[in-house]
Symmetry: C2
Subunit: 335 residues, 2 copies
Amino acid sequence: MKATIYDVAKEAGVSIATVSNAINGKGNVSKKRREQILKIMEQMNYQPNVNASALMGKKTYTLGLLIPDISNPFFSEIARAIEDQAHQLGYSVIMCSTDNKDERVERYIALLEQKNVDGILIGTGIDNLDILTNLQAKHIPIVMISRETTTLEVDTVVADDFVGGIMAAQHLAEMGHRSIAILSEQLKVSSARERIRGFKQGLQDLQIPFDDDNIVICDYMIQEGRRGAGELLGREDRPTALFCCNDVLAIGAMQEARSLGIKVPEELSIVGFDDTILAAVVDPPLTTVAQPIMSMAKQAFQLMITNLDEEEPVKKRIVLRPEINIRQSTARVKS
Amino acid sequence: MKATIYDVAKEAGVSIATVSNAINGKGNVSKKRREQILKIMEQMNYQPNVNASALMGKKTYTLGLLIPDISNPFFSEIARAIEDQAHQLGYSVIMCSTDNKDERVERYIALLEQKNVDGILIGTGIDNLDILTNLQAKHIPIVMISRETTTLEVDTVVADDFVGGIMAAQHLAEMGHRSIAILSEQLKVSSARERIRGFKQGLQDLQIPFDDDNIVICDYMIQEGRRGAGELLGREDRPTALFCCNDVLAIGAMQEARSLGIKVPEELSIVGFDDTILAAVVDPPLTTVAQPIMSMAKQAFQLMITNLDEEEPVKKRIVLRPEINIRQSTARVKS
DNA sequence: CTGAAAGCGCTTACAG
DNA sequence: CTGAAAGCGCTTACAG
């Protein structure tokens, strides 16, 4: 049987209240008693039961992490970064893959509530704002990572998608591209919208025209990237460069180009977004905009902790600068 | 404030015992009362506090999942499969990336114990057997997935790595390869040992000689795959085919071959293991042995549940047959 | 400086 | 069929 606070109290010849105080550094326990108790705890290999103390209003030291899919490389990297932050401070994190379905989001949130998590990190899109509003009404701390809602006051940390878009545009423009198309995720995804807005801004700054007909919307799958690229590359006046809102679409585009006999980067430049492991592994290696995942996780976790400890902290929105990793999928346009 | 069992009892005009019985289908609550109570629970949006009921010896409906690294594609796929199984039955899973370090394993296990998880799924290597023995002594159900310990009696589900190795050998042999080398993970990894044993068996069955000098050991990283492949490909009598114990090493080998100007598959055939997303994305697409991840997760979870419910169930070892996915990284040897 | 007692939100015999 | 009471492992005033 696991040792309880009663066992150590009996062993130490004190009351459980004193043991509790010794553990938590509360009340006034004499130094001598305290050390003696701590020693006994060690000997008995006593670990306080977190759930029991949570019942008395203390923290559960458990957090929920909502992301679209833990098996997607981008989100698994986010998850790892969050896990590491959490682990350092003794928090556990429960993974929740939502598949971007509100219905799954709701089930998961209900589950997390029942388990009294201290807070929820949200890295997935949520269509129905009421879900978030309800969470706030229940005073469950939330922080959004890599996703955002403009309408709600909630702590969020994102990469600067707008600037990322500009970077991609500038790079392509420098390489001499003038006929460029975009492969986008669904426009309800806030980051996709921002990336496109930034990209168009970047082109406009350089006086390069862009027509919205050159945007094709895809779901977040390689197959979809192929389909979208196929549509664009089949046009009479085919683009010389593609800006893709994520690496997965970029890879789909690369595959489609190859099967159409279009050489990357000689005949078609491709830039992705996210800099997942996939970008490094593909041939040619993908030029892509990298989000500072580690920093994002650190900041997000910091915000979470602050929420947990303070009363009504002022909501923050932290925007981190991305960087473009130029590899071999982009080249000067052939003249 | 969240509704408690007292709130619904008061609202229903009954005692909390009756509410509890109604929820759990215990005792004898009249149908009418039961329905009335359930309705009120619904109205009040009452969710029982799992941690409180866990205190009375019920389950926490929380499981731990130990894997080397959630950001590694193979393990993130395992994690997703486990998560889906768990979610269906109302279990949450806490992710624990161990980096294959016993010290991290121990910290995580201590954390999981404090949180009273119902059981722990282990998909990571553990060097110090005492860690597992202790877990068993504490009667914490464990099941191993994709890893095993022969010395301990513990439920485990693995792919048949031995057969996977044979499949790889047969495929390469059929393609006419006779000069073959192996890129292995550290030999302390049980699955790597089995894969190699199977591979050698496969060759031997076909009377193809193999020399252990042709095995190079690498850590689980692309860079290491490059290094290992470089070593092998630099030899005077360079092999015409490489069997790699996982996709990551295979991809490292592909990259190294390319940078040495050796064409895959024309001059060098490569087969990997695991069939992660990476295998599909790389060029040429990688021939690789696939583990039936979904089935493995299902079985592992099933074993877990059985452990949770039954007294001392007989320990099982479930071995699932892998399959080889032949893509374009392997070809007939040039004659 | 220390302990008795009440309470957190539940479940489980047990009595009626 | 239903409820009073004890108890799970803790924490927190409060009294001494």
